[in-house]
Amino acid sequence: MAGNEPILRAVGISKSFPGVKALHDVNFTLCAGEVHCLMGENGAGKSTLIKVLTGVEKIDHGEIYLEGKSILPKTPLEAQAFGISTVYQEINLCPNLSVAENMFIGREPVSGCVINWKEINKRAQAALSKLNVKIDVTQSLDTYSVAIQQMVAIARALDVSSKILILDEPTSSLDRDEIDKLFEVLRRLKEDGIGIIFITHFLDQVYEISDRITVLRNGELVGEYETSELPKVQLIAKMIGKEFDVLTSFNKGNAASAKGCEEDSLCNDAAFIKAAGLGRQGGISPFDLSVRKGEVLGFAGLLGSGRTETARVLFGVDKADKGELYIKNKRSAVASPMNAIKNGMAFCPEDRKREGIMGDLTVKENIIIALQAKRGMGRCISAKEREKLADKFIELLSIKTSGPDQLVKNLSGGNQQKVILARWLATDPELLILDEPTRGIDVGTKTEIQKLVVRLAEEEMAVIFISSELDEELRTCDRIAVFRDRQKIAEISGEDLNQNCIMQTIAGGQKHA
């Protein structure tokens, strides 16, 4: 594909949001007739780049050239007129309208002032048959599977304008057969000379379909690579920001301490929690797992690999539909978070805003609420006790707030995270699950939280630590469970506990029993 003409060129793109530099001097080139993957962890700037290209966001600096001509789409409609169409992760169609209506909504062909339905149906049928999809276009969209709906969205995008097609996580709700079908269509489009930008978290798919890869990290361009020349491990290294070669000489300083744990972990008597074949349809494949008291178990893997899903099943946010869970060697059914809390668990969720803080409540209320829930409604924590607890944890975690009665939403992200930590520590848990506790937090606070985790483990607390940053995991964890494609694929401890080994396991290069 290298010989093809560049169809879209973005040069020196910069974009800032208040307080964040989302994109900094990023270059991006898309050729006609190629599938180009845009890779990067959360917050790398992928979606911002797409938004800039499609006119959803305005750029601060930089230029965009389409077939050599400078363009600057200001609205998605303008971008469409230039020939750039986007299919988003959640299908942006109306499920209760017919397939044909969905494809021509807003641009119905008219004869006189009457909509020409015959024409619409004919053209819809034709557009879909180009993708090898043969369905009755007069049926309402929701009678068809998600994959077909995805195809309709693509057909619509192509019919509107067909130079560049952007697919944002199109496969996350599709099963294997449907993905194959989608890829078949993409290959055909490629042959027609359409440039395709493809965003996904599934590495296997990247290697299956793409010709070239652009990697972003923290809003900056890491590089542009031919897919065939970039091994998976290298790609992961570039995404998380560690050069693979450098890592081969990684010191094994903490291996010694980890080794001791490995032996201990064999005796499951000390395990606080043990999962046997626990799993959930559509969430995480059945897995075995045990966490001892005084141990930090890390979950590693890329986004969407099943780390969070595992934590949710353990905590009862999502009900497991397979397997058994033992808490202190006693079979337990954790059917709800309340159950889990009563069993001595605590869970700092990944999405702080949505699942963590109660913005309009005070710091004090946010801190005591889990303890209150654990005690039950009737046994109200007295005002005095609330004050004492709040003061204690504000001091212990050095939460920066004007006072315990400040609203949590007015605190910075790092301090909000500390408040949630305080909330769980107040319940005096035996198992603390932390899902990305340091995301979006400044370096100082990050270190504080890591230190806290280690200290809690020393105080005989069992900790599950989930993080996208391997550095952080290695610094805090005794053992690391690796996840890929919603499966727990390995457990690494002792000698093997280093970046290279983990990255290779994530990439699937090496098997660990």
Partner: protein, 350 residues
Amino acid sequence: MHDRLKLITKSKLFWPLMILVLMIIFNIIFVDDFLSIEFKDGHLFGRIIDIINRAAPLMLLAMGMTLVIATGGVDLSVGSTAAISGALVCSLIGGNFDGTVQNPFIIAIIAALFVSILAGAWNGFLVGKLGIQPVVATLILYVAGRGIAQLITGGQIITVYYKPYAYLGGFAPGIPIPFSIIIAAVVLVIVLLALKKTALGLFIESVGVNSVASRFTGISVVKIKFLVYAFSGLCAGIAGLIISSMIRAADANNAGLMSEMDAILAVAIGGTSMAGGRFSLGASMIGALIVQSITTTLYAVGVSAQVLPLIKAIVVIAICFVQSEELRHKLSGIFSKIGGARNEKATVKL
């Protein structure tokens, strides 16, 4: 001084109270004998007593509504539930001309309240357990409720001649103030105590602020929602008793008609956000008084029943203006300017 002023204007009760005071001032100026209270036959009479008496059912509805709205929901069925409660109590007591009862009075009341709680629990089940949108879920009973009330009364207006029944919405012997006021006050005190002595208030607010996070924290969101809707049903049931007692009859079609809107309005004027979260029962009670006094005042100054809704709407719009954040900002800007100017003067003097 300035800080204290700011603290006062920031209080949840400040704006509702201001509006109520304005209302009273208007009444004193334009309504004859507004402040006069007479003592006749061991009972108190007067316009103010009248307003509070009429506001009592609305206050009860507003109590339930406040808690429901605080969880981020709304209960449109309270008027219909009130009608069911009234219908049930009247048909159980029966329309005997000689003033005797077909069933004991207390049994009738208990049955009516039980059914009201059941109606509320139904709403709670739909909203909490099945996750149906509150407006849609409670709309079901809003529509069906009056039909159920009609079924109970057999499509007729049952007039009750049993004397003690009239006490609920009027005067009980030996008590100078209307009995409905006492009922509302007792319920209010019980609720306030429950909120203070248990963590219910905190849980309700937390569900309203962020129900997902509440679940993660171990709060049973379903249970809380179920509870508040059931409580709202109970409040509507008590209000229904008072309303039907006032006319000594069960009118399935008109009892509590549009009262759900008044209750929502009372809560809104009280300053509780429709999106849920922080709530103030006290402010809602003042809101209920305001809503009732608008109606009573307009009648008193001679606005006809036909035009009343229009005038009421205009007054409500005016209140909303006063309550709006934007306007408050501008107002407090003016306040601080005046305050600042005063401070400057003071320093110059020094």
